[in-house]
């Protein structure tokens, strides 16, 4: 594993959907090394902050040496990141952690809630490149907060919005629930989103007798280091005790997680 600590340069800043920012960085080693679902620790020079901030790579373009991040502003660090512009330098540490396991040939369903969608452009691209059938289920508050379907070329995209302004009115888990019924012949489920959404999804899986081992979750816990030294990113393990989200995750099979103990720490 080659983890770089190196300055990257911002090539582009855009607004991929309402309330979010996408930064495209030039950083050839990371663009080559990163796998779908891995993350980076981005240094921020914001007032009063001290820690780096973890962000999934949204996608990477190894040939062009480019890598993309999609995020929203929730506090000081993300506000600072959102103010970066073309030509600015960003110090990134990574790629870190374990990404999604994309092996196999079964159809894959990606279930994204809110900013959880940020991890999926690269994941979907990699799945499609492997010749797999991909369904993307995306949920957001309103239509404007959806990442456009054009960001998932080759995938079958369905959306849900809280206010019904696009697609199904309600949660993305409803969508999954409806779809799931018909698909019980072996699918891989990849998901990222707020904890309440994840636990709802797990409930549906239980009801539909979908093995939790078929579900991979991209977890988000608070992180100190991102590299396994602070032990701050513990998440409850089904087998008892804790695993480290930054080393054993962030992408973890759902049967490894003790869902009863999952704290609603983030994306709340």
């Amino acid at each position: 594993m080659s983890i770089a600590v190196a300055p990257a340069v911002v090539l582009e800043r855009s607004v991929p959907m309402a309330g979010a920012v996408e930064l495209v960085l030039s950083h050839p080693p990371s663009a080559v090394a990163v796998g779908p679902g891995q993350f980076f620790q981005l240094a921020v020079s914001a007032p009063h902050t001290i820690l780096r901030r973890p962000y999934s790579a949204a996608w990477s373009d190894p040939a062009g040496g480019r890598i993309g991040f999609i995020f929203n502003v929730v506090g000081t660090g993300s506000a600072w990141l959102a103010a970066r512009d073309e030509g600015d330098e960003l110090d990134l540490l990574g790629p870190l952690g374990r990404g999604f396991d994309l092996e196999g040939q079964r159809p894959a369903i990606c279930v994204a809630g809110g900013l959880g969608v940020a991890v999926f452009p690269g994941v979907v691209q990699a799945l499609i490149a492997r010749g797999r059938n991909v369904i993307v289920l995306q949920g957001a508050r309103t239509a404007a907060q959806l990442l456009p379907a054009s960001r998932f070329p080759g995938a079958d995209v369905h959306v849900a919005t809280d206010d019904g302004s696009a697609g199904h009115r309600g949660s993305v888990v409803d969508l999954f629930s409806n779809l799931g019924e018909g698909q019980s012949g072996g699918i891989d489920i990849l998901t990222c989103g707020p904890t309440p959404m994840l636990t709802a999804l797990i409930d549906v899986a239980h009801r539909q007798a979908i093995p939790l081992s078929d579900i991979q979750v991209a977890l988000e816990t608070p992180m100190g280091c991102g590299i396994g030294t602070c032990l701050g990113c513990a998440a409850p393990r089904a087998a008892g005790g804790y695993f480290l989200t930054c080393q054993d995750g962030p992408c973890v099979r759902a049967d490894r997680i003790e869902w009863e103990l999952m704290t609603d720490g983030f994306h709340g």
Binding site: L51, T221, C230, T263, G265
Partner: protein
């Protein structure tokens, strides 16, 4: 930056044969057992201090374990560690092949537990020294060993009796008089003290109306505490006769120099390892450059004890 030719001697001596090639040490709990964080330039380091190690394995506390605060972070990891046997069997043999001393940070709930861990590590190749973490909260009395000079001396004395290893006692700052505790552990046989461990603090999630850290409180580390740690080191260096290892909020070469000028023999880097893995090398080189610039050839010339200034507000 100092060129190789004019590079001054950065060696330091922590007592009982613990000679370090550099005054830059990585602090307990911020570098695991030395196997992670490949980004850190080990050539810059004088030693590694391991995660706090107990007699039996510990799972640690339930999440949430960390929270950011202004220029600092709170942690309540709960001494998650694989236990001393694993450390002695699996880690120490690998350490024995390194050219970098590893000091094991020892934690416990009782004098007996500290003693058992120290005994288990005595004579184990690869273990270069012990750092007694006397800031554990769960002793019978409800007090930490580290806040009471008598208890602190007792545990130090007991551990001293069972080990030939260099023994550093790590002091807690959550006391009225840190000097009194340091004097007590010096008398009880400590070869050095490290100061300081974290300050007890708290953060509340006002939206959810509950403390952020699952245990309620946590230990504050990082830049925020630097002035407090520095004052503790300044006082200690004037009052104890064994080396003082400065730790708390060191992020830059300038920060490390503040501690060395205040009288620290060496420094430990904690939280900064999470943020800027290159800090250890920068701090090593920054100290060297400063010495060249000020015409100093030996680390012992750094402290400014001669300046007589008051140390209270």
């Amino acid at each position: 930056m100092a060129s190789m030719a004019e590079r001054p001697d950065l060696k330091v001596d922590l007592g009982r044969g613990l000679h370090l090639r550099s005054p830059v040490i990585v602090a307990s709990g911020t570098f695991g057992y030395g196997f992670d964080a490949p980004q850190v330039d080990r050539a810059a380091l004088g030693a590694i201090v391991s995660k706090g190690t107990t007699l039996r394995p510990h799972e640690g506390n339930a999440p949430i374990r960390i929270a950011e605060t202004p220029s600092g972070m709170l942690n309540a990891i709960g001494l998650q560690n694989p236990g001393v046997d694993h450390v002695a069997h699996v880690y120490a043999p690998q350490w024995a092949t390194w050219d970098l001393p590893v000091i094991v940070n020892v934690a416990g709930d009782s004098v007996d537990e500290y003693v058992a861990v120290a005994r288990r590590l005595n004579g184990v190749p690869g273990v270069a020294g012990l750092e007694l973490n006397i800031s554990c909260p769960n002793v019978q009395s409800g007090l930490q060993f580290g806040v009471d000079p008598v208890l602190a001396a007792e545990v130090t004395h007991a551990v001293r009796a069972v080990t030939e290893l260099p023994l550093i006692v790590k002091l807690t700052p959550n006391v009225t008089d840190i000097v009194a505790v340091a004097r007590a552990v010096e008398d009880a046989g400590a070869d050095a003290v490290s100061a300081i461990n974290t300050y007890v603090g708290m953060a509340i999630d006002v939206r959810r109306r509950r403390p952020i850290i699952s245990r309620g409180s946590g230990g504050l580390s990082g830049a925020a505490i630097k002035p407090l740690a520095l004052h503790a080191v300044w006082q200690l260096a004037a009052e104890v006769h064994i080396p003082v290892v400065g730790v708390g909020g060191i992020m830059t070469p300038g920060d490390a120099l503040e501690f060395l000028l205040a009288g620290a023999t060496a420094v430990q880097l904690g939280t900064v390892n999470y943020v800027r893995p290159q800090a250890a090398a920068e701090i090593h080189d920054g100290i060297a450059a400063y010495m060249v610039q000020h015409g100093l050839t030996d680390m012992r010339a750094l402290p400014i004890r001669s300046v007589s200034v008051l140390t209270h507000v």
